[in-house]
Symmetry: C2
Subunit: 333 residues, 2 copies
DNA sequence: GTGAAAGCGCTAACAA
DNA sequence: TTGTTAGCGCTTTCAC
């Protein structure tokens, strides 16, 4: 890596002259500017990022802390964040909390030593279960802004980007009710986190409003054998004619299981699930999905954070709600 | 953020005294050390990472460039990298090339200005198709080590971590042949990249060695309608009794399609695919999978890179081959 | 039009 | 045992 010093030496001018020339300062003579730029190009000079960071007290780097990179939704959000950040000249340091409160705290602390200008995060399951939010507050108090997405803590004052989880399952359930379904089950593998609870509430509301239907809820824990649980459900409830799934795996497995039981989809049973396009391809017929527009969530989160970094004084915080879309495929009537 | 300067001022000692005290230098008196540490703790002092990086010319940061974060395998490798890197005190800056040569080059250049100590990457499809490797060589010439994984360039001298792709499909195909399958098809959605080609060759070798079977290959392009292509395949080839899939989507879709055609799996047709555990849950019966141990690949790549960062003079480069495992489920006899 | 010097926060060789 | 100083690479104010 060439430095200003080396260029200056070779050109027999001072370091500051080189610096100014490269930054197009009009203090410097045209001749000199040309000479300096030529040599800089020759040596492929790039200003040292670390030195700039130290000088400006800005790293142009965002810390992203996500609970699980294998979750397609979270990965997609990360993708959106990365793209928007890059577009605005920022890099991202990725930390995976692995749903652990301790790792989340560590990541926050480790990066709050000048490594990043702010954070984008979705809260770890363990933190949500224990309602731990002090570490977020501390970070913000240090002057490092946070933007939360999807799994957010309402008691922390910061920008947020969320999904209309409640609305989405409410509407999805209503669609099945309007199809004439009588035994609609709600299956969820994410009932310990905030969004999972919201989704169940949306389902419950629609069921209750119908006046005649009864809620049937299957909660699947992480340690459970997912396909088996769903298999048992269908075995014990021959009347099931509708499924609303809070997560993609539950949706895909439920549809495949129904088919395996000899049920026709969607004639005998309809299935709707929070899932992505590629998930919908993994069933026959294709799964009807509630899409979360993960990339958009990422983009918006990055925009919010970068705005706040540039505008640290601003005191009003916004919560953006990204509406889901229902993509109808052949798994409903 | 508190600095040494502020602590020094408040304690009425010099900056270097504070620094040494905090670093347990035995130059400093016990009394002073205690006083300093107490105040540092009170103010929750953390050494500024950027200043340290500038001083040491080491960022303790690794640049990771992956083609696609939505690919489960790549995401899992990233997970492995992150974990190992963190364990050794490194952070990772993640860039997603999105299979684009230009983005890959940009990321490399943008981070080669002192932001990272080295790179771990898997080559973008576009770079592989055009056989572009200059940007890697330039980076290495700048003194920044690279570790490549999965999609590697054999003509670049660096450490590599790869999978026994050829072996894996060779063995998988042989298993189906030994089952007595006569019409084994190879389905691939990744035939433009190096590993996809290797997987096809392994299949071909096994087929040829059998002496009597003929290769049947279905190449699916990114723009194709994946389920439709596979549907047509089964429609036109009623004799298919075995499937080896180079990627998880092809495997899952093939199995579901076969079932949909009324074929019994595995009685009428066996299916084996490169896929993950969670993919295998998305079919009934569960998919027999070739596992790549993505996390291990990530761990090893991080280890190799960090070793090289600590050992820049070392001139022999290693290529680690992580053996795949065949996990037998009910989709084969 | 050019250069010297200070300073971002830290460490370490050297001086006291 | 403590302090002074220089330097990592850069920008910027101020002097010449």
């Amino acid at each position: 890596m060439v430095t200003l010093k080396q260029l200056a030496k070779e050109l027999n001018v001072s370091i500051s002259t080189v610096s100014k020339a490269l930054n197009n300062s009009n203090e410097i003579g045209k001749e000199t500017v040309i000479r300096v730029k030529a040599l800089a190009k020759l040596y492929n000079y790039k200003p040292n990022k670390v030195a700039l960071s130290l000088k400006n007290n800005k790293t142009k780097t965002i810390g992203v802390i996500i609970p699980n990179i294998l979750n397609r939704f979270l990965a997609k959000v990360l993708f959106g964040i990365e793209r928007e950040a890059n577009k605005q000249g920022y890099n991202i340091i990725t930390c995976i909390s692995n749903e652990s409160l301790e790792k989340e705290k560590d990541s926050l602390r480790l990066l709050a030593n000048g490594s990043v200008d702010g954070f984008i995060l979705s809260i770890a399951e363990e933190s949500q279960v224990n309602n731990e939010i002090e570490h977020f507050k501390e970070t913000i108090a240090k002057g490092l802004p946070i933007v939360m997405f999807d799994r957010v803590a309402h008691d922390v004052l910061c920008d947020k980007v969320i999904v209309d989880d409640f609305e989405a399952t409410y509407k999805a359930t209503k669609i099945l009710i309007e199809e004439g379904r009588k035994h609609i089950v709600f299956i969820s593998n994410i009932n310990d986190i905030s969004v999972g609870k919201l989704r169940e509430r949306g389902y419950n509301k629609a069921i209750l409003e119908s006046g005649k239907l009864k809620p049937i809820v299957l909660e699947i824990k992480k340690k459970d054998d997912h396909p088996k649980k769903i298999n048992v459900l269908f075995k014990n409830n021959k009347t099931i004619d509708g499924v609303v799934a809070a997560d993609s795996s539950s949706g895909v497995i439920a549809l495949n299981t129904a088919v395996n039981f000899g049920l026709k989809v969607p004639k005998d049973v309809s299935v709707i699930a929070f899932a992505s396009k590629s998930d919908s391809k993994h069933t026959l017929p294709k799964l009807t999905t509630i899409r979360q527009h993960a990339k958009t969530i990422g983009t918006q989160a990055a925009e919010l954070l970068i705005n706040r970094i540039h505008n640290p004084k601003c005191v009003d915080f916004s919560t953006k709600i990204i509406k889901t879309s229902l993509i109808k495929n052949k798994s409903i009537l």
